[in-house]
């Protein structure tokens, strides 16, 4: 059990527990906090793999901006605890074992496959950030500029959607 494997199991357990907590919490704020835990543990996994820039961007953008937006909206809409509407018993009895079976099948297929070498990049030719940015501005410059348009459209859309009605 190398240290990397131990850290992987700790972070993976944290991520799975966060995802389970998202499902089982009743208040949306607690679900949001669980999702933040999942995102931070995934950022830790990216760091473990050597993808340091993606880890930092994940925390800054996903954890520090998108989830803040979610938390603001939950507070703005004063979302309360979920009410108990009638979920059919059949869904619970048949659904959960089926879901577990599906996941297990998926996991077994992946485990038996030959996905290639170990995921982990000790040293590359260039530093991680440099390589990503060179690729972003050379091969992928067209999608990069398109995403800037996408964000502009999203900003305009969000402003138009969320403004008050002019009575």
């Amino acid at each position: 059990m190398t240290p990397q494997l131990a850290i992987f199991f700790v972070l993976a357990a944290l991520a799975v527990l966060g995802a389970l907590s998202l499902i089982m919490q009743r208040h949306p704020i607690h679900s949001a906090l669980s999702l933040i835990v999942v995102m931070i543990s995934l950022a830790g996994l990216y760091l473990l793999m050597g993808a340091e820039f993606v880890a930092a961007v994940q925390i800054i953008v996903y954890g520090g901006a998108i989830m803040v937006l979610f938390v603001f909206v939950i507070m703005l809409l004063n979302a309360g605890v979920e009410e108990r509407t009638n979920v059919s018993k059949l869904a619970g009895i048949a659904g959960i074992p089926l879901a577990v079976a599906l996941l297990g099948f998926l996991a077994v297929v992946i485990a038996r496959s030959n996905a290639g070498a170990d995921a982990g990049w000790q040293s590359g030719a260039l530093a991680n950030t440099k390589e990503i940015s060179m690729m972003l501005f050379r091969e992928f410059v067209y999608p990069f500029e398109l995403t800037s348009f996408l964000i502009l459209v999203a900003i305009l859309g969000a402003i138009v959607l969320a403004q008050r009605e002019k009575n």
Binding site: T2, Q4, F8, A15, V16, A19, L20, L22, I23, P28, S31, A32, L35, V38, L42, L45, Y46, M49, A51, F53, V57, Q58, V61, Y62, I66, F70, V73, L76, L77, A79, E82, T85, V87, A91, A99, L103, A107, I110, A111, S113, A115, G116, A117, D118, A119, G120, W121, N128, I132, M135, F140, T147, L150, I151, A154, I155, G157, A158, L161, A162
Partner: protein, 100 residues
């Protein structure tokens, strides 16, 4: 080093949990959060493959996925605010005016 398969299994598990949350939860914001969870699981798979093949394409694509998720979250939450104001409730089962 950690074998790639482990990351892929974790990604599949998180994706599956996202699907379960999407189906079983009734609060529209929680459903939206489960979509973000699924996108995160896919990001993990991308980065795992990118590191296994020693190429940066996967990580560049992860950046694009994060940007698109941000744009989608902004517009989606705007729609959710409007719907919640309109139907006075955050329960998806109450948005049923088109039901027969």
């Amino acid at each position: 080093m950690v074998p790639t398969n482990y990351y892929l299994i974790l990604s599949a598990v998180i994706f599956g949990l996202g699907v379960v949350a999407f189906i079983f939860k009734r609060n529209v914001i929680t459903i939206f959060m489960s979509i973000e969870l699924m996108l995160n699981a896919v990001n993990l798979a991308f980065v795992a493959f990118s590191q296994a093949r020693h190429q940066s394409d996967g990580q560049v694509f992860v950046l694009f996925v994060i940007v698109v998720a941000a744009a989608e979250a902004a517009v989606g939450l705007g729609i959710i605010i409007l719907t919640a104001r309109n139907r006075q409730s955050l329960n998806v089962e109450r948005v049923d005016l088109l039901k027969l």
